[in-house]
């Protein structure tokens, strides 16, 4: 208990000295990003953090305690902004780790007994390490969120649903279909069916290299969902290998209309929607 109070007391009394030294350290650190952050901003952040830190450390150095919540919230805030600005993890964590030296200095000056000194330094270093790790974790979390959001945006981009004709939609699928992508694709298609009132949708898988059980099941589910909404689906572009895989996997496609090519599927769709295609006279004479 006494050790904690010492640290708490020193931090409280030497607030201004620590702040000055700390900001100085940060300004001289190699990880400083003058391009991304103004000096005044850094000074302001440091001042606010040290204030919260001083307050929290009065009640102990277990950062799991609720008293540390304002400190952690504040760290969350600055980490988020630094991730968005493009800081690296070490650049972000320097904010905490650079506080070590100024704190050590003031502790060394204030504590005379070597035993106490070691104990106090130990408490301080453990505390700052914990906060530093916390920042690293936050940094990574924020990065993951950014990546996650970008993935979602990519998914949206990679699934165009096109209208071929009145009442006929086509969904040309290209590339590997994983479960998440298939799901987005399917939701998009169903949404477009509602918007356009299309009676028939052609799902073309010519550009899909492989179809596993999960993807096949997703396709079937989409066809079933479209049927519940009152629309039909045709699956086209099933290549020989994929036909073989589908049969080997034991996926039952008997309820679904399948066609070898998008063109065949389009003809069927035209027929079903009551449209006919005829060659114009000019083309006929040429042929």
């Amino acid at each position: 208990m006494e050790k904690r109070t010492k640290l708490a007391e020193i931090v409280k009394n030497q607030h201004d000295v620590i702040l000055n030294d700390w900001v100085e350290f940060q300004l001289n650190a190699t990880t400083l990003r003058r391009d991304l952050m103004k000096e005044s901003e850094l000074r302001e952040q440091s001042r606010e953090f040290l204030g919260l830190f001083t307050q929290a450390v009065q009640s102990g150095s277990d950062i799991g305690e609720t008293i540390w919540k304002p400190v952690k919230d504040f760290l969350g805030q600055i980490t988020r902004s630094r991730v968005l600005l493009g800081f690296t993890p070490s650049e972000t964590a320097t904010f905490i780790f650079s506080l070590k030296q100024p704190l050590f200095d003031v502790i060394r000056a204030a504590v005379k007994d070597p035993k106490d000194l070691v104990a106090d330094l130990w408490t301080t270093t453990t505390l700052l390490d914990k906060l530093g790790l916390y920042v690293m974790e936050l940094h990574q979390q924020n990065r993951e969120e950014v990546i996650h959001r970008q993935q979602e945006e990519l998914l949206e981009l990679s699934t165009p649903v096109v209208q071929l004709f009145e009442n006929i939609l086509a969904l040309p699928l290209i590339g590997t279909l994983d479960s998440a992508r298939t799901q987005v694709v399917m939701e998009n298609l169903l949404q477009r069916i509602v918007e356009t009132g299309a009676m028939i949708s052609i799902i073309d898988i010519t550009g899909v290299p492989t179809v596993d059980t999960l993807v096949a099941q997703h396709l079937l589910k989409t066809v079933a969902a479209a049927r519940l909404m009152g629309a039909d689906c045709i699956i086209s572009g099933i290549r020989p290998q994929i036909a073989q895989t589908i049969v080997h996997l034991g996926v039952d496609l008997s309820e679904v209309t399948t066609k070898a090519t998008l063109a065949d599927a389009f003809m069927i769709a035209l027929q079903r929607t009551g449209a006919t295609v005829t060659k114009s006279a000019a083309t006929k004479t040429k042929g």
Binding site: Q141, E144, E145, H148, Q183, E187
Partner: protein, 134 residues
């Protein structure tokens, strides 16, 4: 894992099933679930609330809004002190029904969520926990 919100609602009547649906929808919106995710968890909640009412002779649901890293989720725990389910494995099969349902309550709900857990003791009651993550 952090719990953002934690509440308990009774399931005593058919109107309570509607209320559980509405509350689940509200919470799913709060957790910024996509429309499909909302619909799935609300539908599962409706199935299980009805089970609690009809087979468990009423009970309650505990609903929790969760956050784990960047993932947000909803957890619903349905508890009753009813007769319990003698053969769980059988009850989880598609098409298994004790009478007036289509036998999709348990097995169907399981497919609509990410986590599913069930405990049942004959004569003591049943607890079903489901969670969906966005």
């Amino acid at each position: 894992m952090a719990t953002l919100r934690d509440e308990i609602y009774p399931i005593r009547s058919s109107d309570d099933i509607v209320k559980v649906r509405q509350i689940t929808r509200e919470w799913a919106l709060m957790q910024t679930f996509s429309l499909v995710d909302q619909t799935k968890i609300v539908t599962a909640a409706s199935e299980l609330a009805r089970n609690t009412l009809e087979h468990g002779h009423g009970g309650e649901v505990r609903i929790q809004a969760l956050q784990e890293g960047s993932r947000r989720g909803l957890r619903l725990t349905f508890v009753d002190q009813g007769p319990g389910i003698p053969d769980l494995a059988k009850a989880l099969q598609d098409g298994f029904t004790t009478g007036n349902g289509m036998g999709l309550g348990l097995s169907g709900s399981k497919r609509l969520v990410n986590d599913f857990d069930i405990h049942s003791e004959t004569g003591k009651g049943t607890t079903v926990m489901i969670a969906r993550w966005k």
